[in-house]
Amino acid sequence: MTERTIAVDYLTRVEGEGSLHVKLEDGRVEHVELRIFEPPRFFEAFLRGRMYTEAPDITARICGICPVAYQMSAVHAMEQAYGISVGGALRELRRLFYCGEWIESHALHVYLLHTPDFLGYPDAVRMAKDDPETVKRGLALKKAGNAVMQMLGGREIHPINVRVGGFYRVPSREELESLRPTLESALEIAEETVHFAAGLPFPDAEEDYEFVALQHPEEYAMNEGEIVSSRGVRVSASRFDEAFERAPVAYTHALQSVRKGGTPYLVGALARYALNGSQLSPRAKSIAREVGLEPVVRNPFRSILVRSIEMVYACEEALRLLSVYRPPETAWVEPTGEFHGGVGAAATEAPRGLLFHRYQLASDGRIEAAEIIAPTAQNQKRIEEDVRHVVERSLALDDAHLTALCERAIRNHDPCISCATHFLKLEVERA
């Protein structure tokens, strides 16, 4: 018999979707397992051998909702490796860019994904049939965020104007000023949004989170700061491993990020607000007080309110940045001196939470290793806890209602599961 070997080397595909498995036994929750496909892990391999200058562009394609976050973490990490410091107007433009993404992403989540949950609609399309005005408000807000991202990013599909050291091209004062009317009306809508969200019916819940976010001495942190937690962590991004680890939780499970020692933590709007809320603008703080938002929010269902407050802040901050803008002399800062290779690490605040990047670079600037820890990988274990508690409180519900509640518990944290739509496959097993 003649035989030959055919080399195939084919990696089977998994589509970008998530699944949740809940096992109930004797009236208690035996096991909760949230499975998430992590595209960043594939990009880590894809980045190897590429030049350091390519990372912002490649990583921006990981997520269509938060390309700015991926670009920002990438450029900051590379700049750290090369010892480049970016200040002044370039730094402010980056912050403005991030404001755009926060507005865009929060508007999508608040109006098109989260609100239907509270009002009992299966999705935004059905909600739009009964209440087109609400959906239109969300779309208008999102469009304002998009306008900022397009102005600075250069293109709507994914931003191509960002580079290590700054931008390829910076806008004139007049160009930036053209955003003002859009942002002013966005600010009004954002304020209405807070009042609207405050009137939603919130299920009871109280979770004991360890919040983790960037913190900056002078501003509500977006691009820069130390990584801090509500239980005493304070490290720079380059010392991330001292406080956090990536743990394979079960054999058939994705890699999760946990605190050293294995406990879960939470990143995202709730964490930023709890740790840095005092740094919000006076207006954002007063609206928060007006609607009775507590200084630390431990009910995950109320995250919709916190995101709404952050939208008010991002609109205001964007308007402030327009006012102070004077175009920088150069659009980007070049690395100086000889580079001998090394490691660069950075974390920034993506709309859904801390996004960590680390790159090992050769002396010619080639990427030898890349590590990207997305917000959802960090929240995954904590979300499982939320689900467990929600189920424990609601065991009497039938499977359909329990399933819907679990979906809501997950969506509370704006997870990056196929853009957080209803792609989730959910299984409740009652023994």
Partner: protein
């Protein structure tokens, strides 16, 4: 579910490769299973007959390597590494 999608994709690839190579019978299939794959080794062995049923690989031996490396970039995946096939025109019939 992820598992089912992966297994169906594996089956599709097996059929595609054997058709392209005009291989009437596959003797051995080598698979590499990542440490974080959504399908477990036991599950894969259990489902194997169903995956290959009705394909040229239905009587093939399964040669499965299970990785323990969580940092491998393909750790979430299942890789079809290679196939040993009988040459078409071979006189050795089943």
């Amino acid at each position: 579910m992820h598992e089912e999608a992966m297994l169906q994709d594996l089956r599709r690839k097996l059929v595609e490769v054997t058709a392209r190579e005009a291989a009437p019978r596959v003797v051995r299939v080598r698979l590499w299973l990542g440490a974080l794959s959504h399908v477990s080794e036991e599950q894969l062995r259990r489902e194997w007959p169903r995956i290959v049923d009705g394909t040229p690989a239905e009587s093939a031996a399964l040669d499965l390597t299970t990785s323990r490396d969580f940092e491998d970039p393909r750790a979430q995946g299942l890789v079809l590494v290679s196939l040993d096939v009988e040459e078409s025109g071979s006189t050795n019939e089943r």
